[in-house]
Amino acid sequence: MKISSETEVCEAIAGAKAPLSVCGGGTRGLAGAGKVLSVAGLTGITLYEPGALTMVAQGGTPVAAIEQALARENQRLAFEPMDHRGLLATKGEPTIGGIFAANVGGPRRLAVGAARDFLLGVRFVDGQGAVIKNGGRVMKNVTGYDLVKLMAGSFGTLGVLTEVSLKVLPRPETEATLVLSGLDDMRAVAALCRAMGSPFEVTGAAHDPAAGESYLRLEGFEASVSYRMGRLKDLLGGTDVHVLQSDASARKWVALRDAEAFHGVSGDVWRVSCKPSAGPELAARSGAEAHYFDWSGGLIWLRVPPGHDLRGRLGVFGGHATLVRADEATKARLGRFQPELPGVARLSAGLRARFDPKGIFNPGVMEAV
């Protein structure tokens, strides 16, 4: 249904008797069953104060429009949200509400935080059609429970985001990437972790076994980047290194962010979050056809044969595996998200029952199989 105001969202939900497929631009392959309720018609930046690093926008505002407005003031979304269109072969316009509903981040998540860490406030419509607000547009706010975090990453199962307030950050003067060559997974992740444990403010740490290269990104003022690059080379000395300067560095991180290596190549795609040091061993027993590491080894992107039960292969481990790309039958059989421990699952189910008592928001999108 065509929605162009928050009131219409309320009406659509209050009157709904059957499931709704809550979405923004629909680019992330998350649509549940049911009548489509898209917030893509709710657009517009309602407030932007560059000097206070804050912005307020309607839930359906295209991410592109937000990024343009930020670029004009030399600022950016620091959590580096991934664009899923290439990987999932989807079309459409990613929305800011969708970014937060799916807690979409990127390589810089490791250094600055996830989308949820930049969400300051929300307005949403709950399962009975009531408008709820929480948080605000200030950086520090502990007034009452933090439903802002709860809404981030709830995939439209608790409410429909109609407005978001977010924290933005300055765009650094430049960036550069140190490339280490010829390291195996174990040695590469060890090197990335050493770099992350240094005071040189690394904002990206990835390793691509297919290319035989490991990447460490530095950002900031020109002189500072060049100083830290020197120190980082000293720290990881003895390995074969070269440096990607500004534009080449930026292109590399877009490719890593969007999992470009898996675009247009058949196979299911999984994402595993774990302790960085556990990454190489998990990748080794994953049965994947291809993989690479982000987040210093703590995020593994894996391409596996269609229908491959990755969670079955990994068994119990400290982390979680998410099925990002597969046919509907596989998604239904394996479930998109890692099953929760019983205590946590009970709390999550309790929250869903309270926020969506009719059980109409994206049924099946988050529940375990």
Binding site: G51, N103, K133, K140, G144, L147, P170, S273
Partner: protein, 482 residues
């Protein structure tokens, strides 16, 4: 401050409840002598006091679970307590409650530099978390000013911030996982050494829930490598508005200082009289600190000084040594003590959009004259978190009430300009009855629905956060349903 009437049936069962607690705890971990429970009658909001029925001091998660199972079965309210440094009355007991103090749970469970994390029992103090890793070049970033005493348990309950959160974020941004005991004694594990635990963000929900959803007994925290160095610059302006514009320009220029602190004239005067830090007498003083190598610091400070010069500061003093840095910070760090030398004070914690700073300071000055009470402002200017300190005389009848009324006016103003009631201290009992100012009934209803899910009988930390009328009604319904 109105508190619920103690449950007579609970008080009547005190002997049995104490006996059951003694069955599961070492004898010195159960305190029921009224002379000793007095030690727990208040936290740092000392204006309100009420000794608890019993205090317990468990040492393990299993003991916490055993305590909560008993209290759940007996229908006894439980007030969790970290180090009791809450300025909002977050750990104020009720007469019929069991105070559950985590002070004995202070072990480091795991230190992992490769994955940059530490796992601790939550009774450990904030500063001693850093203490456990600093010899190896790491630190725990959130730094509330009570960090010498405050416990991680309380930091998680209040989502504590600090002076350096402009760069490093607050507790919720540095918390990776918890072990939490639910009111019915069930032990739940959330998150861990990995990022972004799958499913709904319960970790984010628990952080800042003021001990009302569960008792967090262990926490996995992010630790960070210490920067190579840090150095502040001090600048004085003869106009608040100009100082505010300077802050905004620094941020817009793409420099991200680790801290930007602001003090106004009453605060500067009090601080100078007390600590003699050599601050200039002016309307607004800024301390801006940056981090990095010597060359990086020089570069950032030169940019900041260049921006400051455009605003005609009456003083611009860059630290050239560790001694000079300490001297610049000395006044700021003594500010609360200095105000306390003059009289009793109440410390507020509202946050405002930085752009509203001049207007809000002007209004506070006007209100100060109207109420006849002095105010000094210390302020985390980078993130808009204000700390107005209202001076009053606790021994003068009616002065506390006058001060509270003035404080409420300031907080309402914070909300009016787009800010909030509390930036880092929490609601507790102090701001409970002001929640209506910031939230509509349906907003509060949504928050209380969360409480219903985690603690259906509303036994954990009762009478905090939500206006009493709203929560009491709910509690009665829940009890009837049981």
């Amino acid at each position: 401050m109105e508190m619920p009437v103690p449950d007579a049936s609970v008080l009547a069962r005190k002997a049995r409840i104490v006996a059951r607690l003694r069955d599961v705890l070492p004898s010195d971990a159960v305190i029921d002598d009224p002379r000793e429970t007095r030690a727990y009658e208040c936290d740092a909001l000392t204006a309100y006091r009420c000794p608890p029925m019993v205090a317990v001091l468990p040492s393990t998660t299993a003991e916490v679970a055993a305590i909560l199972r008993i209290c759940h079965a007996e229908g006894v309210p439980v007030v969790p307590r970290g180090s009791g440094t809450s300025l909002a009355g977050g750990a104020l007991p009720t007469a019929d409650c069991v105070i559950l103090g985590v002070a004995r749970m202070n072990e480091v469970i795991e230190t992992d530099y490769v994955n940059r994390l530490i796992r601790v029992q939550t009774g450990r103090t904030n500063l001693s978390v850093t203490g456990a890793v600093e010899a190896d070049g790491f630190f725990y970033a959130p730094d509330p000013s009570s960090q010498l005493a405050c416990a991680i348990a309380g930091n998680i309950a209040m989502n504590s911030g600090g002076a350096h959160c402009l760069k490093y974020g607050v507790t919720t941004n540095n918390l990776l996982g918890v072990t939490m005991v639910m009111m019915d004694g069930e032990i739940v594990e959330i998150g861990g050494g990995h990022l972004d635990a799958g499913g709904l963000d319960l970790l984010g929900l628990i952080c800042g829930s003021e001990g009302q959803l569960g008792v967090v007994t262990e926490a996995t925290l992010r630790i960070l490598p210490k920067p190579e160095g840090a150095r502040p610059v001090l600048m004085g302006f003869d106009d608040n508005e100009v100082a505010g514009a300077c802050v905004s320009d620094i941020i817009k220029a793409g420099v991200l200082p680790v801290a930007i602190e602001f003090m106004d004239r009453p605060c500067i005067e009090a601080t100078e009289a007390f600590a003699k830090a050599g601050y200039p007498m002016c309307e607004a003083l800024l301390i801006v600190e940056v981090e990095g190598s010597v060359a990086e610091i020089d570069h950032q400070l030169s940019l900041i000084k260049e921006i400051a010069q455009r605003h005609n500061p009456i003083e611009l003093r860059e630290s050239k040594s560790a001694e000079e840095s300490a001297k610049i910070w000395l006044g700021r760090k003594s500010a609360f003590g200095a105000m306390g030398q003059i009289n009793d004070y109440m410390c507020l914690d509202g946050t405002i959009p930085v752009s509203s700073l001049p207007m809000v300071l002007r209004r506070i000055k006007e209100m100060s004259a109207e109420y006849g009470l002095k105010v000094g402002n210390v302020f985390h200017a980078g993130d808009g978190n204000m700390h107005p300190l209202i001076l009053f005389d606790a021994n003068k009848p009616g002065d506390l009430e006058l001060c509270e009324a003035f404080g409420a006016e300031i907080l309402k103003l914070c909300v009016e300009v787009g800010g909030c009631l509390t930036g880092e201290h929490g609601v507790g009992i102090e701001k409970r009855d002001l929640m209506h100012v910031q939230y509509a009934p349906e907003d509060l209803e949504a928050q209380m629905a969360v409480k219903d899910v985690f603690d259906p009988a509303w036994l954990l930390n009762p009478a905090k956060v939500f206006p009493l009328d709203a929560s009491e009604r709910r509690r009665a319904v829940m009890l009837a349903a049981e």
